[in-house]
Symmetry: C2
Subunit: 330 residues, 2 copies
């Protein structure tokens, strides 16, 4: 059973999920991608029996679950970092632990083992985003889930363990620390100014233009002023909406186009780099987060944080965001 | 000039240090180590002119600065992330920035291009630790320096850009966020219990033994209960002392032995893995940190944090610390 452990000094939580693990002697595997050809890939059509039973799929041909015929397919993660569980582990004041309660799903982008989102048509990428929203909406109804984290790990150097393009959805029973920080900042800004910090950022960024990469279809792509990573990009809807689940039908295509285009630019400039993105969205714990503004944060893995970054919690970025935006626009 | 930028939403600070950079088109270089043979290595004897003038060196033969004859040598970082500067950059409420004020030094461990700390005698490793303490003490006298961060990046995959074994010392004009968190936790624990959280942890860990790897010479090595990384190790002095600069002469050998032995174990188990360590120590900003307890935190880079970790601020660890300790003891 995956568990949440809390550090006695800092209070920070760590997920210990040995179901995801191999024995220590196998750990060298973690460093190289488990590249599986289509025959052995659990996400390829024909191999549906290799995954747990599907939770959802787009099947325009009306085909039966757990067989071929799907366009986008959702299954529970076979090695979950969070799951629903009854047992609660024992605690001591210096060694606090509890079950890592929640859900962990995989959204397979398409039947094609090699088709990166960057290479999809906007229509096909839009189908993936529709499924993101569908699973977001289902999971936010789960009373044990307080926050939903949608992520892409692309490439072994970005933490992907399987090559076939897929997104992971984590439904977790707490609001993660970085979201707490963003929520507090957004709340304080609203208290102080009456406005939304993201809406005001969009307006300022449009005025200067120096960190804008793209601005179309209701979404703006910028390199944030305090970018942690070289070529970090945020994609923000220009209409105020706290939750990803609140994205309207008419916004889906604009969002898919914005994401697809940024991934395509990064691919062109860095030759298919390992990269990550995640969506930050209001918690679904019943609170009022009207002041928050959902968005996506993306970064190619072109630099390696070392002991300065891991020991201080501060990043060193060797490229200015203004330079990065100019490079990605060109 | 390196600058500190503050994110408008979270308040987090990022160092933008383009002096460390290459043009974006050169960024692919960042991903592979700049492995330089001894002829081209700025840290090898005979190449002293390739670095800025030395700040300090152990020269038992009395040889002149900036030439061969040294055992351990300290120079300013040629591409500093922090430096003393007059100019303060302009700010806007959404785009706060200031100079990244401070110092950034390099401690070259030995004249030998290939001699990892793991392979040194305890006596030679002790000389390196003596120089750590010497530079720590010099930098803490600097009125612009509030916190000193000593780090090791070993291997390109751990963020090292030069192969010749070296340590970096950052003297920074703020207390980093992760230290703030540790200080607050340690302070709260003292308020609540009257004791030191690290002293109490040592006592508990000795009782159970399940996370203890080594315990000798005044230093205990444990895998922390809420380890963020597989095989994360903390080395903690068993006598209470807030500051690394307060380490006594008689402790140096014990510390050097503990560090050398842990690196050697990791080397044996993982075949010279990329790894990082850093020292956490009380700030030198004039505050009273009697409740804090300095220590070293180390981890091999055998796993790759992805978008879950970067987006939530929570780590997923696939190996229990109890398992890791057993494996490293064996």
């Amino acid at each position: 059973m995956p568990e949440l452990r809390q550090d006695a000094v800092t209070g920070r939580s760590v997920v210990v999920a040995t179901e995801r693990a191999m024995r220590p002697s196998d750990l060298s595997k973690v460093r190289s991608a488990e590249v599986a050809g289509p025959e052995e890939c659990p996400f390829c059509p024909g191999n549906e029996r290799m995954t747990p039973h599907e939770l959802f799929a787009l099947r325009p041909d009306g085909s039966a679950p757990d067989g071929p015929g799907w366009l986008v397919r959702v299954v529970p993660n076979k090695f979950p970092a969070f799951k629903h569980c009854e047992v609660v582990a024992g605690s001591h004041s210096l060694f606090k632990r509890c079950a890592a309660e929640g859900t962990h799903e995989v959204i397979v982008h398409s039947p094609d083992h090699c088709r990166h989102l960057a290479e999809m048509s906007v229509g096909d990428a839009g189908k993936v985003m529709e499924v993101y929203r569908e699973r977001y909406r289902v999971n936010e109804m789960d009373p044990e889930v307080d926050y939903i984290h949608l992520i892409l790990n692309h490439g072994a150097e970005a933490g992907a363990s399987l090559e076939h393009p897929h997104t992971q959805l984590f439904g977790v029973s707490l609001v993660p620390p970085l979201m707490e920080l963003e929520l507090r900042g957004s709340f304080d800004y609203r208290e102080k100014t009456g406005g939304c910090v993201f809406c005001d950022l969009i307006s300022r960024e449009r005025d200067s233009g120096e960190r804008v990469i793209a601005d179309a279809g209701g979404f703006i792509a910028i390199t944030p002023f305090a970018s942690r990573f070289p070529f970090e990009v945020w994609i923000i809807p220009d209409s105020h909406e706290p939750s990803f689940g609140g994205m309207s039908d008419s916004q889906i295509e604009g969002f898919a186009g914005a994401v697809r285009d940024i991934l395509r630019k990064l691919n062109l400039k860095f030759n298919n780099p390992p990269l990550n993105y995640y969506i930050h969205s209001a918690p679904c714990d019943g609170g009022d987060y009207g002041y928050y503004h959902w968005h996506l944060e993306c970064f190619p893995r072109v630099s390696t944080p070392g002991a300065f970054e891991w020991g201080t919690g501060m990043m060193i970025n060797v490229i200015t965001p203004e330079h990065a935006a100019g490079f990605l626009r060109s």
